[in-house]
């Protein structure tokens, strides 16, 4: 059974913050775990969100409360990559994640793979509103170029 919208967003943001990317599609999250896991957010987490999608915004804002930096997609995903995200690739330990449409997820994860960043998850999907969204995560560990 698919989770409800609130459960999905909660699970997705928690998963992003804690590095558990297998949650969103069938998530059951107890609110108590939020505070328990918050302290585990020791790495630098950047959340990419689509300003036009309510669920993506909600995901980002919820993640921000757990200490993540949030960045909108804007109108040029290539510029976003080259100007904002690619510089993160030079420092290990960074994580970039997002809840976006498939095309945006595809582009950003492909950019990441091209520079040797590790794409640990990119296909967990769920219906969270009118659009089918994709949750993805890339890590800078192992960056090659």
């Amino acid at each position: 059974m698919k989770p409800g919208r609130r459960e999905f967003i909660a699970a997705a943001s928690l998963a992003a913050a804690c590095g558990r990317m297998s949650l969103p599609a069938r998530a059951t999250v107890q609110s108590a775990t939020l505070s328990n896991e918050r302290g585990a957010l020791a790495h630098a987490l950047t959340i990419i969100f689509d300003e036009d999608l309510a669920d993506s915004r909600a995901f980002a804002f919820r993640s921000r409360t757990m200490g993540a930096r949030i960045v909108p997609l804007g109108n040029d995903i290539g510029a976003l990559w080259f100007q904002s995200l690619m510089p993160l690739a030079s420092s290990p330990g960074n994580t970039i994640t997002g809840l976006t449409r498939h095309a945006d997820a595809f582009l950003l994860t492909r950019f990441a793979q091209g520079t040797g960043m590790r794409v640990t998850q990119r296909t967990a999907s769920a219906h969270a509103g009118p659009d089918t969204l994709v949750m993805w995560r890339i890590d800078t560990s192992g960056t090659r170029t």
Binding site: A103, L107, D131
Partner: protein, 525 residues
């Protein structure tokens, strides 16, 4: 589970020795193999099993010295190398090799912008330079030149030009804007074409031919050498521009559109490449299919009609851009509008004349003023799931009857296989690229196979009708090449002779454009 493939017929020990030699040349981290190293080089849009075109390893060289040494090793061991600049055009196979087990020769680390000459309006670049890279360099240095980006701006300038890619400014025919190449032959020798063949000459990027003969085109869409530098002409930034779009109400308008457009392109009244887009192609950039139709098979005509009306788009939409001083732009606009006013219900949407410094917002508009972008990828959302596409790309004369014939042939076969006609024509003065994308959910094996079956059918149908493609996906290179059959495939025999002369060990991109080295052709019958 089986491991990664090896080059066909190569003993494991030889392969490991070759890889060790590659590491010694390019560095440990420049060779990717085993444990998923070559995984990112699989074709993400494969119309079937992506592993049918799986690389055995990847080697990334950083300069021509490394490249020469890698070619030496490849010749010694018989390692097939599949060279890619950035390998970003997934509609045609991305960075995956035609021959399973080839080693991908990734040139992205050769990424120097060697020169940008504002006075003579050109750039000289290496293979790893993307359109974004070149654009950023132009911006950072305040150079008053525009590049012409293809639909996918993350691609390589050299890669796209060599594959005869195109864009939508007045410099949209990329191969035609190429001037001067440096090529490494399979034996490691470096050749410069045109005026570059002369030591101390300064006209390499301004005069193509040199003393003759001219070979540049021989290294486009071929496997005769590895292009290491390429000159590309850039467009002097105009004073201003006007973005224009016609919306045509009726599906039957296509013939009239093309007949009206041709003379305007031939006499250069319309400077930019012009793009005729179907309603589905336009809609796929701003909506998803499910919003309009969620039934089986291709979208019915009634659903397309409803969609077009609700989105306020035409059944056909014509985009172009006019450049120059405002008075000239207005004069061109008036002539064009007078011609198109003969088509019933044609509606011209023109943006106000803008200074060249003003950046439009939409991706298609940005492309027409030299700004690379990736908005074309929105089509991946059209069908839902893990959207993917492969393209069918026949050449079409700018004649209304041919455009209509090709459109109907594709539309009807696409519908037969359950695909929408997502297509359009990019029109230059004397030819049009007719691009149809078969969009599918790559998580659905049946859809992926259907896309492949559709492409095969279209290539055969079009070949029988006398139409050829300018480019195709890896899976169909042999079939597409076989359509060029004048004098019992004399062109292919010549290509094979050149291949044998320049690359006797057959190490460079075996199977590219259907050109196979003699040793592999004989072995495989």
């Amino acid at each position: 589970m089986s491991g990664p493939p090896r080059p066909p017929g190569m003993p494991e020990s030889d392969f490991q020795q070759a890889l060790a030699a590659f590491r010694a040349i390019a560095g440990q981290n420049a060779v990717l193999t085993g444990d998923g190293g070559a995984q990112p080089y699989l074709d993400p849009f494969a119309p079937g099993d992506a592993h049918a075109y799986e690389a055995s390893a990847v080697v990334m060289v950083s300069n021509v010295e490394q490249l020469r040494a890698v070619l030496g090793v490849a010749n010694r061991y018989g390692v097939p190398l599949w060279s890619v600049s950035t390998g970003r055009n997934y509609a045609y196979g991305g960075a995956a090799p035609r021959l399973k087990g080839s080693v991908v020769l990734d040139l992205k680390r050769m990424n120097r912008i060697i020169e940008i000459n504002e006075t003579l309006s050109y750039a000289l670049v290496e293979p790893g330079v993307s359109y974004y890279d070149l654009y950023q360099a132009l911006q950072a240095r305040g150079i008053r030149l525009w590049l012409d980006p293809p639909a996918a701006g993350w691609g390589s300038v050299i890669g796209n030009t060599l594959e005869r890619g195109f864009g939508t400014t007045a410099y949209g025919d990329h191969a035609a804007m190429q001037c001067g190449m440096e090529v490494m032959l399979a034996n490691g020798e470096i050749v410069r074409t045109g005026m570059g063949a002369m030591n101390g000459n300064q006209e390499w990027q301004v005069f193509k031919a040199g003393f003759g003969p001219s070979y540049d085109a021989m290294f486009m869409q071929s496997n005769f050498g590895v292009v290491t530098k390429l000159g590309i002409w850039l467009m002097p930034r105009p004073e201003g521009y006007m973005l224009c779009c016609y919306k045509f109400r009726h599906d039957a308008d296509l013939e009239h559109i093309v007949e009206t457009l041709r003379p305007l392109k031939l006499d250069d009244t319309m400077q930019s490449n012009a793009v005729i887009e179907s309603a589905v192609r336009w809609a796929a950039g701003i909506s998803t299919r499910k919003q309009w139709y969620d039934g089986p098979g291709a979208m019915p005509d009634a659903a397309i009609e409803t969609m077009a009306r609700k989105l306020g788009i035409g059944r056909w939409n014509l985009r172009f851009c006019l450049y120059g001083p405002e008075a000239l732009v207005n004069a061109r606009r008036d002539v064009i509008h007078q011609r198109f006013s003969s088509i019933a219900n044609a509606e011209l949407i023109e943006s106000p004349y803008a200074n060249a410094n003003v950046e439009p917002k939409g991706g298609g508009d940005r492309s027409q003023v030299g700004i690379p972008n990736l908005d074309a990828f929105n089509l991946l959302n059209w069908r839902g799931g893990s959207g993917a596409h492969i393209d069918f790309s026949p050449v079409c004369a700018p004649l209304g009857r041919d455009a209509v014939r090709q459109y109907r042939m594709i539309r009807d076969q696409a519908a037969h296989y359950g695909f929408d006609y997502y297509g359009g024509f990019t029109a230059g003065p004397r030819s049009m690229h007719h691009i149809f994308a078969a969009i599918f959910n790559s998580d659905d094996p049946a859809q992926a196979r259907g896309a492949g079956d559709l492409l095969k059918t279209l290539i055969n149908d079009f070949g029988a009708a006398g139409y050829g493609q300018y480019r195709t996906h890896l899976a169909f290179m042999d079939l597409a090449a076989s359509q060029y059959d004048f004098n019992d495939h004399a062109l292919m025999r010549m290509s094979e002779s050149i291949k044998e002369a320049l690359d006797p060990n057959g190490i460079l991109s075996p199977g590219k454009q259907g050109i196979w080295p003699k040793r592999l052709k004989e072995r495989d019958g």
